[in-house]
Amino acid sequence: MPEILVFLLIKLILVIVIFALWMTMVPLLIWLERKVIADIQVRLGPNRVGPFGLLQPIADAIKLIMKEDITPALVDKWVYGLAPAMLMVPAFLAIAVIPIGGVVTIGERSFALQIMGLYRGPGLFVPELDAGILLVLALSSLGVYGVVLSGWSSANKYSLLGGMRSSAQMLSYELPLGVALVGPLLLAGTLRLNGVVEAQADYGIWFIVPQLVAFAIFLMSGTAEINRSPFDLPEAEQELIGGYHTEYSSFRFAMFFMAEYVNMVTISAVAATFFLGGYRLFFNDIVWLQPVWFVLKLMAFLYLFIWVRGTLPRVRYDQLMKLGWKVFLPVALGNLLVTGLVIAFSPANTILVMSIVGALLGIATFFGLSYAIVYGLRRRRPESERRVVEPTRAGVSE
């Protein structure tokens, strides 16, 4: 068998395994989300289908497939049909560069547990994709089209408004997301995700410490980028009915949510890789166990996302845009400059200095951000526009 076929076979298995991992995470996440939110709100959550309601997401998926797929009369049928796929396919493609484990050696061949990762066999050497994280960013910027096109093609003014809002939101938060990632990249010196993980192992510290600010900005912008609560404006029923997916039904409706959950898993995977040491646990180098650490870190982030959803109220659209452009972007750039400054002027013990500076900076930013947000909320409209509401008079209509 020629080496290229072995290569393809191994990669095919990797694609199937990683795809399957993501496809297991999605229903699990939906179940977990409903359970945890129910717990936070002192309810029981799904408990009928299967043990602890574990099969509920699968039952939901089957139900959605069996439902009528309505194509409203006025829609642009062609674009309307394509839009969910344009959201979902890039979401799936972004998993190509996520390393779920290190380099495995079987006989004379060794390969990374990563779809576009390293492969070394007799007579064939394939390096890891050089652009690395840029692929994830590029694919996440493609996701905007699914939103714009579904909003436009639905021929519904709420869909269109929701689509425009969500796409403007996604654009705005791509900026701090992109800048925040540069901080860890400066310390790693490579765009390859495997390289970032190895750099953290070499330094002996997870980048969450020296890059605390970048971590916070990344996580919050990532939440906004994938339209999650508290930035889930597409689901602002009070204003928009349902946002860009108002007119969709049946499985095409489900695809929007699947794309959202896939993106959520991917963002968590990138966060785990960049800030929590990826698939590596400090003292463990048994390669076959590394996917386990990776999945555990992934789950921690997913739990965090659910927790945030259960805790925080949704922000208003103007606050959202202001937060992205006026707070996250300059803070991320500032963090980048501080990191650059430390690396440029203390080459001997960069990581030590950076860890101290990073942690202090993180704490300072936390208080600064809290102050800015509270202040921003308080000064949300000019005094003159504020109406004085009479207190304690029941039944007063405005």
């Binding site: 779809i115 003014k157 269109l160 992109g178 400066l186 499985f251 006026k326």
Partner: protein, 121 residues
């Protein structure tokens, strides 16, 4: 290295097959009972008012316009980040280089802030 991209192609095929297959399956399995009311634009059960496509504030356009410019700026940061660590003595030079670059952009950033382009009322 084109071989690098073969796994990506495989993943692409899997993703498209999954998305397409699910859509076709739901087409085949779901009922088809269209009615005039069902095919109307949905406005929470009200009879739709006005055109289906209204006009929008130009601010969305401005956001997209500013996004292009800052996106380009950010992409320039990536090559810088990649070689910064290994640059050795040239690090100081590289640092001031990016400081000037970001400084010029910051002038523009302050300008758009003062002009109120970042406010959303």
């Amino acid at each position: 290295m084109l071989v690098q991209y073969l796994p990506f192609l495989v993943l692409f095929i899997v993703a498209v097959a999954f998305a397409g297959g699910a859509m076709v399956l739901s087409r085949l399995l779901g009922p088809k009972r269209p009615s005039a009311t069902k095919l109307e634009p949905y406005e929470s059960g009200m009879v739709p008012i006005g055109g289906t496509r209204g006009r929008f504030p130009i601010r969305f356009y401005l956001v997209a316009l500013l996004f292009i410019l800052f996106d380009i700026e950010i992409i320039f940061l990536y090559p810088w980040a990649v070689i910064f660590l290994e640059a050795g003595a040239a690090r100081v030079f590289l640092f001031f280089e990016i400081l000037v670059f970001l400084g010029v952009i910051t002038v523009g950033y302050v300008y758009i802030w003062r002009k109120g382009a970042l406010d959303w009322e």
